[in-house]
Amino acid sequence: MHEQEKTPLAQAADPDLAASPYAVEMRDICKAWPGVVANDHVNLRVRQGEIHALVGENGAGKTTLMNILYGLVRPDSGEIFVNGERVHIGGPRDAIRLHIGMVHQHFMLIPPLTVAENIVLGQEPGGPMAAYDRRRARELVLQLSARYGLPIDPDARIEKLSVGLQQRVEILKALYRAADILILDEPTGVLTPQETYELFDVLRVLSRQGKTIIFITHKLREVLDLTDRVTVLRRGRNVGELVTRETNQTEIARLMVGREVLLRVEKRSARPGPVVLRVENLHARSDRGLEALQGIGFEVHAGEILGIAGVEGNGQSELVEVLTGMRRATAGRMTITHTSGEQAGKTYDITGMSPREVRLVGVAHIPEDRRGSGLVLSDTIENNAILGRERWPRFAWARFILRLREIAQWARRLVGEFDVRTPSTRLPVRALSGGNQQKVIVAREFAADPQLLIAAQPTRGVDIGAIEFIHRRLVEQRDAGKAILLVSAELDEIRSLSDRIAVMYEGRIVDIVTPEASEEELGLLMTGGRPSEASREEQAQATGDS
């Protein structure tokens, strides 16, 4: 391994650190793709031992900049200095030699191999000709793990690990390659709140040990919680370099988006109407055959947003799947009552319906995994705009022959109304940014004029501007008298949007509280704390098993 002088915590003593060499300095980086400037004279200065946030909306050029630093992309012009020395980074190899490591958003691990095998992969102990030294690999990993305080079982298979632990393996992998400068690309996007806290602890420890960390994100809370300084990019340009302690969410958001952003959702108090969705004593199994839902019961009224809070993996995903017909309920009953439109007052039993039928009776569904199930990425916006509704008379004659002109018009309408930024509705959805992809789904589901809207993680992986937009639309729909079921892992989102919050824990709804409930209270409920007496009665009534 290497020996390198570690300067003490950069920020602590000396505010005038301009003299000391930066761990990373990128000067006047320019990079243009045909037709678009990804980086336009971007500067980035990261001090040794600090946690530096690189923020910006999707497409602001963060990832390009980091890919340049990691040698994946060559800049058109600009200079890079590492520890004060001008360097040429021609590829990841050079970057690794300069002790730069990168943890990607999508993990680059081999699921059937063990932790140790994954970590040493490519630099296996034992030499190029000798056999792989399994025991030595284990030892090295254990040493590494102890040195940085990142406990991990070296013999566990990657596929058995949680996402949070997999990420830890990625970090260890970078450290094994002697990284002193660690780039993390949106590391929290896939993590639960708990895992996020753990990750932050790990990063703080690493920073204390002298590692320099560049943290790409667009979640402002994380910036404030974790980082020392912030560089903000907008449309490929620097728009700010801030000291975290001296700034706040509003300022960063304004810099990122280029205008004032309402971080709080403005909404009037709800005026709930009659019950739209009634769920009684719902049971279902998970993919692994475990009891994922154990007697769920609740109601969603017209004109209200019911938020479902909970640590991920407590049955929320299964609940949404059962409600939308994608998963079978093993017991229980679900009904939809129309409160508006031609069929007002009519009640449908949606238990056991297929997703298509559920959609037909007025349920819209924003799925939690937009790339996985909500969109066909290779297909055009037009075709994605009718996904799940392709047989509706509006889009198909005799449910068979597509009415292309109608579909094109529909897509153009959605794109216009929901501000999907695209030059053409014939582009594949893949070509859109994450936020715009999500807008396509939101548009499709909202525009169908549903009775009930199920929104699962509607803003996951979406930039601030789009989050604001989607939140506003959700409230609009509520005010228009729709019933909305909001499932989100973002507690902030749940609290700011919901009119009532149902907390799920281990397949049950432990309590239904008002959004005024404190974060501590919700946190306690989410981890299985006792519900209050009164609300337990309410719960019993709702499930109908009292």
Binding site: W33, P34, G35, V36, V37, N58, G59, K62, T63, T64, N67, Y70, G71, L72, R74, G90, G91, P92, R93, H104, Q105, H106, M108, L121, G122, Q123, P128, K173, R235, M326, P355, R356, H365, S373, G374, L375, V376, S378, D379, N383, I386, L387, G388, E390, A396, I401, L402, V420, R421, T422, P423, S424, L427, P428, R430, A431, L432, S433, G435, G465
Partner: protein, 464 residues
């Protein structure tokens, strides 16, 4: 934002600022659809040229001349005059049908290796019906045979779909097995129950009233009354089966791009989870698509039997016939589009025909045609399996610098941010083919495989 991010790092970026985006997108599609197959063909022809020059004798100039001459005969043998063209079209017809069979299955991401078997199943049942009802009038028996043959093919393909939907049996395995089953069944029938009396290993000829008319004869009988007639129509052997093939192409195009069935099939193929979300039954679609694939192939087999001399099934004919396998090449070359399949079938069918003239006149072995075919497919397949290229890239970079971390260098560009760095955007160009190659690499299809752009990037990096 999106205006910017939609920009791919590709050789021909659409000028998104202009309003003629749609036209540009279309041009791109056409360009990328034609570009690679044409390039593949050009490469194959050049390689073939070299092969001929090696085998020919004389000075370099003589050899070059010989090669050009051979190509000349190849072309004129295939399309040079009406008679040759009609022979070529006889080859083209079954290639279109089986090519459609492969293509429609591939739209649902099913690899139909069984087109030959379905082709055989169609021909066999049609022959069976034709023999058993040989006294029936032509107006009844002809459609009956066509329907029976199509259904037999549909059944043979449908079995594959059912096995896939119910048991998850991989279609490549089941189609190959079903191929052999039908080959042996046909051998047995031909040398047993359906054997022509006094003949070895062949059925009797189909009843003459079911023989499909030749196109030229048909023309003389209909339009020929008003327009100039064709003299000696019998020398133009192509039969009306070719018209059926054209109709099938149009039907395929319509089905795939204008109906909910085509739409849903595409969703099932591209993203089964989205299909589940949309309420599209993956199983039902898989069965339907395979049945349709079989129907196309079975129809091809039937029309071949009914349209071409000797109007009978000969022993071991199917297992020696490569139509159903050439069809895979036709479909790949045609990028699963109707027009592409037509052109691909024309190329393959024409080369088969032209090869014999080339052998005769230029004294170049007709097998050269197979070499060219193979090279065309190889050029396509190289693109088809980015895995190979990636493996090569890795091998080279690893050789240069043993310390490099191949795994880290693997898919490092953040694909979620694709538009920003353009890594994923080049796939806009890529029609269906790229996807499966990627799927082969990253099982979840999330596209962690390297795109060509990235590979180039890596190569450049490596050279630096």
């Amino acid at each position: 934002m999106a205006l910017q991010t939609a920009q791919p790092r590709s050789p021909t970026p659409p000028a998104l600022e202009t309003r003629s985006t749609t036209l540009l997108l279309w041009l791109r599609r056409v360009g990328s659809g034609l570009g690679r197959p044409l390039l593949a063909l050009a490469l194959a022809l050049i390689a073939g040229l070299i092969v001929i020059m090696i085998t020919a004798s004389g000075s370099l100039f003589d050899r070059f001349n010989a090669a050009l001459l051979a190509y000349g005969y190849l072309f004129s043998g295939a399309f040079g005059n009406a008679a040759n063209l009609s022979f070529s079209l006889v080859n083209v017809t079954p290639l279109i049908f089986t090519g459609l069979s492969v293509a429609i299955a591939y739209r649902a991401r099913l690899f139909n290796i069984g087109a030959e078997g379905q082709f055989a199943a169609g021909a066999i049942l049609a022959a069976f019906v034709g023999m058993k009802c040989s006294t029936w009038p032509g107006w009844l028996l002809t459609p009956l045979m066509i329907v029976a043959g199509s259904l037999a093919g549909a059944l043979w393909g449908g079995i594959v779909g059912l096995l896939k939907a119910w048991r998850g049996a991989h279609e490549v395995v089941t189609t190959i097995m079903l191929n052999w089953i039908i080959f042996y069944v046909s051998d047995w029938l031909v040398s047993g129950p359906l054997q022509a009396p006094g003949q070895a290993d062949q059925t009797p000829s189909m009843p003459p009233q079911t023989n499909l008319p030749k196109l030229s004869v048909l023309y003389n009988q209909t339009l020929g009354h008003f327009l100039p007639t064709i003299s000696q129509p019998e020398q133009y052997v192509v039969d009306v089966g070719f018209l059926f093939a054209l109709v099938a192409l149009v039907a395929y195009w319509f089905l795939m791009s204008r109906t909910t069935f085509g739409y849903e099939t595409r969703v099932v193929g591209e993203n089964p989870r989205a299909a589940q979300y949309a309420g599209i039954s993956v199983k039902r679609n898989v069965v339907l698509v395979m049945a349709l694939a079989g129907l196309f192939a079975g129809l091809g087999g039937t029309l071949q039997l009914m349209g071409q001399y000797p109007y009978e099934v000969v022993g071991q004919v199917f297992r020696n016939d490569t139509t159903g396998f050439d069809a895979i090449g036709v479909a790949l070359l045609g990028r699963m589009t109707a027009i592409g399949i037509f052109l691909g079938a024309l190329l393959f069918g024409g080369m088969r025909q032209g090869g014999s003239l080339m052998q005769l006149k230029a004294n170049v072995p007709g097998d050269l045609v197979y070499i060219i075919e193979a090279l065309v497919l190889f050029s396509i397949a190289v693109r088809f399996l980015p895995v190979i290229r990636q493996a090569l890239v890795k091998r080279f970079s690893a050789a240069r610098q043993p310390t490099v971390v191949a795994a880290l260098a693997g898919g490092v560009v953040d694909l979620d941010q694709a538009p920003a760095n353009g890594a994923e955007a080049p796939t806009m160009n890529d029609q269906p083919l790229s996807e499966s190659g990627r799927a082969a690499l990253a099982d979840d299809g999330s596209g962690q495989a390297q795109t060509p752009a990235q590979e180039r990037q890596h190569q450049q990096n490596g050279e630096a």
